[in-house]
Symmetry: C2
Subunit: 159 residues, 2 copies
């Protein structure tokens, strides 16, 4: 494994993290998606400038990489992110299915400057209705129909 090559891409993600924070786009987080030694998507956190709580660096870079590749999947790609992903970005990564993820700063480093991903990781463990944001299930008779239609139509998942 060529760690120096991976460090080079991480340095680019880190440079993006400083660039985005420097212009007030959002927090100091950057991400680069690489395939076969070529950048296919990159970006920095844009939560503040876009008024979009989902515009974390990883989500921005994944969306751009998928747009560039014309696919909702990233097979054979590597995600380089300046900081260990939060649960939202971890989920986005699993849905996009890259080959691997490399990161530099840890979630403890992020917590030390006020970004407490650990809260969300703890909340995942709790019963839905007991969370700090309560998740309440209600029985709705119509809910099953679109699921049954999907199963009948597609014969399985398509992504």
């Amino acid at each position: 494994m060529d760690d120096e090559r991976h460090r080079g891409w991480l340095e680019r993600a880190i440079a993006l993290s400083g660039e985005g924070a420097g212009i007030g786009a959002g927090g100091p987080f950057g991400c680069v998606v690489v395939r076969d030694g070529v950048v296919v998507g990159e970006g920095y956190n844009r939560v503040l400038v876009d008024n979009d709580p989902t515009a974390h660096a990883e989500v921005v870079a994944i969306r751009r990489a998928c747009a560039a590749l014309g696919s909702n999947q990233l097979p054979g790609c590597v995600v380089y992110t300046s900081c260990e992903p939060c649960p939202m970005c971890l989920g986005a990564i699993y849905w996009a299915r890259p080959a691997a993820v490399y990161y530099a700063n840890t979630h403890q480093d992020a917590a030390a400057i006020g970004f407490d991903d650990a809260l969300i990781y703890r909340e995942i463990e709790r019963e839905p209705a007991d969370r700090s944001i309560p998740f309440v299930r209600l029985d709705v008779p119509s809910a099953g129909r679109p699921f049954a239609d999907w199963a009948a139509r597609s014969g399985g998942p398509r992504y």
Copy 2:
């Protein structure tokens, strides 16, 4: 608590789930964000039509609600989603901070038609380097600088 009112909004989210899947936009998932009895953002899964693995119904609806309100936060809003959120969407909800979440179908219902959120929930528990998509930390000397700059500049988090 007026469950019938909440069920009414869930029915709208469920109708959106069928609408989106029916036109091939993505899986059968819909979401509505409501504040003071008014829809401020809604949508359905657009993963297939947008080539965007992050375009789950909750992410789409949250992004639209935040754009409409000109804010990266959703205080006082309620999220109605046709299905229990996946980890990505749970994370997005925590970053947006609505007051509550209501859902109809469970993650077990989703797994039964091929959407296995449980895999991602299990992966979260594992050591980063041992995951099915390995998360590898590398020490990069430049990584700490943007974090230190952020802490010095903002004196704390701004979102």
